[in-house]
């Protein structure tokens, strides 16, 4: 009974925690400009993510190691340090974007500019990190994030052409704006195949003391949770395609994106969008702050657990305190979170090889996984992700310059 409850909660939190500023911004922009044509990177990225998340949980449940622990142990500190620098810089940018997303949501609700929200919001995020437990952060924020299901309601109420939606699941090349199309493809993949989610998930499995008896549950949570999460991102794109594209509206700013549900849900659409962004970005800001702190603490071999008193893992608490404070600074200076989001999503794609290549080695290492090592299907999927991640790493920066 306890496991069924955990399973249900796991799936619900995966769904509620899936959307964040990166997935919403890229999906809205893609739908507004290219209609259903960019559904395929969300679909493809979600399939890859399901496999990567399942592997992250399996590694933790079998070896009792997080990905970062195992990476440092298997490849040594110098290699880990290179990964740390790459991942930490981009994760920091994403944290700035998530805090900015909360600020933007509060701005459209109250009329007070987002720079004014940077400090109070950062303080609340920090306070929850300081006082809260892992389950509060994971479950509380994600349950509130279930409001993002309103995007699905909006998309269905707009009566999409389902055959067009289905054809959007297959890659096609547009006649014009190819650089922009490529940039958005890279950004969507960066927003979907997020390595931080893998780090967070494997750390969460250790926090919740998973063992081998959780392997089946892990598979179901990863499969259903991520699938329905990807479905939410597709709903955002479909709604944007139906609302903005016919009017020729290219969504460059957050206030424009806020209109995505207004047509389908005239009475509540605006407020549902604002609250969806508020809770989704809030949950993501907590998860990113934790993921960065986990990364440092596990990499340097410090004490770490969100369930410990800060005095017992002071260096872990110090990292998230400093990171959250630093992330507030660009926002107070008025840096546009939407621009930071688009840059950080493309850079996430660029840093994917750093995260995925060592992961493939770990998932085939009998010392860590014994008989639970990857099979041919999982290895094929990770290999495909690696090939794509190298291509993305090469093209993301030029596309950023031309198409972003």
């Amino acid at each position: 009974m306890k496991k069924i409850l955990q399973l249900t909660l796991g799936i619900i939190t995966s769904v509620g925690g899936f959307l964040e500023i990166g997935s919403v911004t890229t999906s809205v922009q893609a739908g507004a400009q290219f209609g259903y044509k960019l559904l395929w990177p969300i679909f493809f990225g979600t399939i890859c993510l399901i496999f990567l998340i399942e592997m992250s949980g399996r590694l933790a449940a079998v070896s009792r190691h997080t990905i970062v622990d195992a990476m440092r142990e298997r490849f040594g500190f110098p290699f880990f340090f290179v990964v740390l620098v790459g991942i930490a810089i981009v994760a920091f940018m994403v944290l700035v974007a998530e805090l900015g997303g909360i600020g933007f949501a509060l701005q459209i609700l109250t009329g007070i500019g987002f720079p004014w929200w940077a400090l109070p919001v950062s303080f609340i995020v920090w306070l929850l990190m300081w006082k809260g437990s892992f389950s509060l952060i994971e479950n509380g924020a994600s349950l509130l994030g279930l409001i993002t299901i309103s995007f699905v309601v909006a998309a269905i109420k707009l009566h999409p052409d389902w055959s067009g939606v289905a054809s959007g699941l297959l890659p096609t090349m547009p006649q014009s704006d190819k650089a922009r199309y490529g940039f958005l493809t890279v950004s969507i993949l960066g927003a979907t195949i997020s390595p931080y989610l893998m780090y967070f998930y494997s750390s969460g499995a250790i926090e919740e003391k998973w063992d081998r008896s959780y392997i089946v549950m892990n598979r179901i949570i990863a499969g259903f949770g991520m699938f329905f999460g990807g479905f939410l991102a597709m709903a955002v794109l479909i709604a944007a395609a139906l609302v903005f594209q016919p009017k020729g509206i290219q969504v460059d700013t957050f206030p424009q994106a806020a209109l995505v549900m207004v047509t389908a849900l005239p009475k509540w659409g605006f407020y549902l969008f604002a609250l969806s962004m508020l809770f989704a970005c809030f949950g993501a800001a907590l998860e990113f702050s934790l993921a960065i702190a986990y990364f440092f603490a596990q990499g340097f071999g410090w004490n770490w657990s969100e369930d410990l008193e800060p005095s017992k893992d002071s260096r872990f608490a110090f990292v998230y305190t400093v990171i959250i404070l630093l992330a507030a600074i660009p926002l107070m200076l008025g840096v546009d979170p939407v621009k930071v989001t688009m840059i950080s999503m493309a850079l996430t794609s660029a840093t994917l090889p750093l995260a995925i290549v060592p992961f493939l080695f770990l998932m085939n290492d009998p010392i860590y996984l014994g008989k639970y090592r990857n099979g041919w299907l999982s290895n094929s999927i990770v290999s495909i992700v690696i090939v794509i991640s190298f291509v993305l790493a090469l093209i993301s920066i030029p596309l950023q310059l031309i198409g972003g």
Partner: protein, 136 residues
Amino acid sequence: MAAKLLAVVLLVSALACKPPSASEQMDSIISWIGTAGMVGEAWLRHTTPDKYTAHTLELAHNSLIDINSGLFKSLPAGIDSAALDSALTRSSAHIGLMQTLVEQKASPDFRTMLDSLYSDEKVVKQFADSVEAKDK
């Protein structure tokens, strides 16, 4: 190898520095006029707050002024720039007035202004089609 890499970097930089074409700028103009129309309709239905509506209209107004200032340098030959300028000036003026009317909560006048904006939008769209055809 180094030379090839340098050539790629230079090419990318050149493309990145390229200013947006007239057709792309016209798309942005249509996008902002469309945004103003959409947020205006939502406000008339009392489904968006005043401050958000006024802020979005201000954003649209300022963006239109910004784009207009650079558009005429890149317009292809054969486009009646005086007529286009007049349509764009009218559009941005209407959006500016809509912002003021939101602050005054003057819904009937706002409706009239919004209808005028739709007329401007039709004219601007015709110009955008001509610019796109000439750009190709």
